[in-house]
Amino acid sequence: MTTPKGLERDLHYIALGDTAAFRRLYEATSAKLYSVSLTIVRRTDWAEETLQDAFIKVWHSAGDYSVTKGSVMSWLISIVRYRSIDLLRKRANQELSSTDFDDLPAPEVLDASLDKLTQSRQLQVCMDELQPTTRQCIQLAFVFGLSHQEVSEHLSEALGSVKSWIRRGLDSLKRCLQR
């Protein structure tokens, strides 16, 4: 298991053109990053394309990473999530079908899954302070890449309510995380 420090060191080497470090970083993180993308784009070929693009970007942009901006995993996951969201936007058939909705976890499963947040006690505490529906909206958007409209359909709640819950939920979350 590569430590966060190990990832930082490898990223530093990658910036200098070290292909062995690049391979190590791929082996340490690709399973996580692939699953993050697959959860959003829901197609193996698209997730593979996203992962390829993300690592090409990592190779070229490793020098842009700065420890002050956050952890390496946070940086990598952000690259993969944004690529995945951008890919959904570009594809014509980006709207979720009813089958896709069937594949999404039920609200109660989502809530239970938050217990897995073992690494960040603070995030777990702050998520716990939110209303259950607000919590689910934020998870569906962040983890599963759902748009406001799709969250609204999945939870059978009005679009306006979903928008307002997410906005207010993020405000509360920010206040809590800064405490």
Binding site: S30, D45, W59, K69, Q119, M127, G145
Partner: protein, 224 residues
Amino acid sequence: MNYQSTELQHQLAARYVVGSMRGSARKRFQRLLMDFPKLREEVAFWEEHLYELTDVIAPQQPNDRVWQRIEERLGFVRTKQKLAKWPWLIGAFASLLLLVNVVLLTSTDSVVPTPIDRVAVIQNAEARTLWLIEQREQTFEVAAIGAIEQVPDQDYQLWMLPADGTAPISLGLLPKQGEVSLPISSRINLTEVAALAVSREPLGGSPESIPTGPVLYTTDLIIL
């Protein structure tokens, strides 16, 4: 900066990171990020705090071909098809077509496992060949051949221009030297190609779905 606009920054950054900001708003925000360090700080705050929400997803090993394609795209490995074994192909286009045909006719399966469907030659204004592109069943085999201007902070990107006049579709990044194999997405319809084009883009390719840099060269895909 007044309180209201700071509030706005908080909200925009949060919506961007969470992913609920979509469409053109997302593209506009990405441009704003380049100009406003405060916005970048906000985005970094959310990225660092929220990424662990993805801990609920079980890691899943990607197929080995992903790493292979990455290595090929970055030019770490030579592709299976040794394009450079034909340096003498560089030259008049008519003779190129003739010679490729000869190679096809005389090749065994062990040399050319998948047939070449079409070829393209990208030349500069002086008619010097820069890249040789072969379209195979699932890939474009690309070889950088001529004197390609080495721009360390930029990449050359290959585009397909659809015959129906719709927006160009990216086919991948061209190598600055050596050879790469660019996978052809099953979603790309190559039967209706008007032309290929090459643009100069930021490292890693255009941040948009269309070229953002100057289009340097265009050429045709020729059916063999």
